[in-house]
Subunit: 450 residues, 2 copies
């Protein structure tokens, strides 16, 4: 897998690149990446994926073999050789402003703003959309799951439900940004310095003569830190047998069945055995709704493992992130760009997001304005990340991104933080931005009538 | 990204590996990978992902750095050094049988069967599940989309909605296996020898002074094969202007709005201009339901681009593929393994799937039996792929996998092929398999009572 390949994009980005090159359209363009609407079950999103976006922008290039592939492509048969020479030297040389990962975001707010020669900015579209929308979607789900767990630890178990190995690394990372304490994914743990968790599966139990032998052999190998999986055959039988055997594990894990009832029963049994410090861990198709329901039923659970929902959230399986041209230099002049088709309005201009808080620190409202508007006491959220193709903001450890997200969720109004009902956080466009939109609208209408 | 890393797995696979190693559990085990149930909107699935699974099995290993990471992990602090020496030499040495990619499959039918020393078979679980469930899910969706298009071409536009760059390659591949003619994803096209498609985006139109200039510049660069995107401002205006300019494109693309009405209108306008050979391409949040609806409304569309639905199908965002122990060697003896918790029965034994067809060639029913049962005129679907860790079945080109899928869909009973209603294809378990299940059930009950 060529991670930084310039071909890791839609063909139309490259045909447009050839078109700009051949018609000598050499101006700089600004694109912004944002969502138009929140998915139905989301009150906010958690920005994630910037680190991988920046790594791609720093490293993207075309190998001779890739250029040869394009040269032989039917679409490119009339393209001048100079374009391929250009690709051979291609590097991203643009400027990037972005929301630091872990920042809470709302519709219309740019997560990322790219200003670069139009060809460079255009080719990056597909990769930026994919890597940022995926991680943002997972981090946003994780934040809800963690909220539902009310302070109990949540571990990402999503690796087997991720879209292949590399995607599993990103989902584990994004889940941790969203508030998980770590992941079952070992390579993700090593790669991003995150904690990894796991003990044994049903197959371990099934491979042995019986549960008692399976548990004993596991505790022989791992005398400390072991959670025993108790639902392979019969939960209560298993718990009784563990207590009878007299070797105290770190905890037990329930993965199916009536987890609320079984956990309460197990808690009492463990407590009666004097094992008050033995934890109960729950997993098995959990999400924020099921966790909330378990806690409402007084389930005696200390921590949760969440897999499928953090590999692909079923209640919001895609995030319709878009990457829109907002400004372009043409004939030496700057033009603001907007799109008006079918009520899908896109605001023109290079933007900044200004977040206002109450004196107590609660987030109050956001204003999307032009990049050069004064903050007037609000916090500008987009920060400069790359200048002239070079990174100027150092990478941040995942723990810091997680802290940012948790702090952000804590500062949200309560109505937006809860997971069951839709609540709208106030976001408005500045006066100057609205005026600019109307100006562009009139210009486009005039041009259409010509 | 270390593609073939042994750490690309859940931690519990490695703790179990250490457990098996330290307790000298050295027998061979057989695991099978299958789905218990179809997602609500699926009548069949299309097997995909085997090629990437085999590549992983052929290449998986642990680097010194990865072993060092495990050695320092809290869970592994009591593990003997010999285990880490074992990992340093670790290779997959097992046998694999699998459904060739593009084969139509049903619940309970193993897509893949691994027989290997228990540690090797166990560690592979997470990767195999991720890479095969993802591609199977996408190929299955694509087959429905292609069915809905009734012979019109469908192109995968999913790259920007995939879970990052590497996932986008796999989704493009799986979509093609499911019947798409190709993809917008250039690297996927190069990597897997698939056709790639694309011309220009809204940003191309917006970057120019007006649509007329934008279209002219694109046609200057690409005089052949160009589809012009006509919905940036006003579809009918754009089509009129293209016709008035007098330069015939290969086609036009509609990406939003009332595509059925606009396509019919555009068809008439193009025909009146004598441009009967100019194609109309539709895209924009399409899936099999929307395509069926468009065709029901007599939309004049020649081909479709489908993105989001082929990046992550919203109506079936996960496939609950599982990897279950079905046989294990313990103390020199072969034991059949099954799981009975909470009505989630897993059948024991090494299986084969036998597909019966009518004399006319239509698929009639499947029987899941033991691997050594005679086929009795049915087609055994699982074929031998790897022996002793070496691949014995050569890789197949994606085109051949696509042909297999299309041929399979054509042989499905009509009720299973249609996309709107649930229809159940008959799958039964053989007598010998049912007897074996009961035998294991009795053994497990006896063991639990001890």
């Amino acid at each position: 897998m060529r991670e930084y390949s310039g071909l890791l994009t839609d063909l139309y980005e490259l045909t447009m690149a050839a078109g700009y090159f051949q018609t000598r359209f050499e101006g700089r363009a600004t694109f912004e990446l944002f969502v138009r609407h929140l998915p139905p079950h989301r009150n906010y999103l958690v920005a994630a994926g910037l680190e991988q976006a920046v790594e791609y922008l720093e490293n993207v290039h075309f190998t001779p073999d890739e250029i040869e592939y394009l040269r032989r492509h039917t679409m490119f048969r009339h393209i001048r050789p100079e374009f391929f020479d250009y690709l051979a030297k291609f590097r991203f040389t643009g400027d990037v402003w972005a929301m630091p990962e872990g920042t809470l975001i709302f519709p219309g707010e740019p997560l990322l703003r790219v200003t670069a020669p139009v060809i460079e900015a255009q080719i990056m579209e597909t990769y930026l959309l994919a890597v940022m929308s995926y991680q943002t979607m997972i981090a946003s789900k994780a934040a809800r799951v963690v909220t539902a767990a009310q302070g109990r630890q949540v571990v990402d178990f999503g690796a087997r439900r991720a879209h292949g190995g590399p995607a599993s690394l990103l989902s584990a990372r994004a889940a941790t940004i969203g508030g998980c304490v770590g992941t079952s994914n070992v390579l993700a743990g090593q790669e991003f310095g995150m904690s990894t968790y796991g003990t044994q599966a049903h197959s371990w139990i099934m491979a042995h003569e019986d549960e008692t032998e399976a548990f004993a052999h596991f505790l022989d190998t791992f005398p400390e830190g072991t959670f025993l999986l108790v639902d392979t055959y019969d939960v209560r039988n298993a718990v009784k047998n563990i207590i009878a055997a007299g070797r105290k594990p770190a905890g037990i894990r329930l993965d199916s069945g009536d987890v609320a009832a079984d956990s309460r029963w197990a808690r009492r049994a463990l407590d009666r055995a004097g094992w008050k410090d033995v934890k109960i861990f729950a997993s098995g198709d959990l999400d924020e709704y099921k966790i909330a329901e378990l806690l409402r039923k007084d389930a005696a659970i200390d921590a949760f493992g969440v897999g499928t929902a953090l590999g692909t959230p079923g209640d919001a399986p895609h995030l319709n992130l878009i990457y829109k041209l907002v400004q372009v230099e043409r004939g030496g002049k700057i033009h603001e760009a907007a799109k008006f088709s079918h009520a899908k309005v896109t605001y023109p201009g290079r933007k900044q997001v200004f977040r206002h808080s109450t004196p107590g620190g609660e987030f109050e409202s956001d204003k999307i304005g032009l990049a050069d508007e004064p903050p007037n006491g609000a916090q500008p959220l987009l920060v400069e990340i790359m200048r002239g193709g070079r990174r100027i903001a150092p990478p941040e450890p995942v723990g810091a991104l997680r802290d940012r997200c948790l702090a952000g969720v804590a500062r949200l109004p309560q109505r937006c933080r809860q997971i069951q009902r839709r609540a709208v956080y106030p976001v408005r466009y500045s006066r100057r931005l609205q005026d600019m939109l109307e100006k562009v609208r009139r210009r486009v209408r005039r041009a259409a009538k010509k």
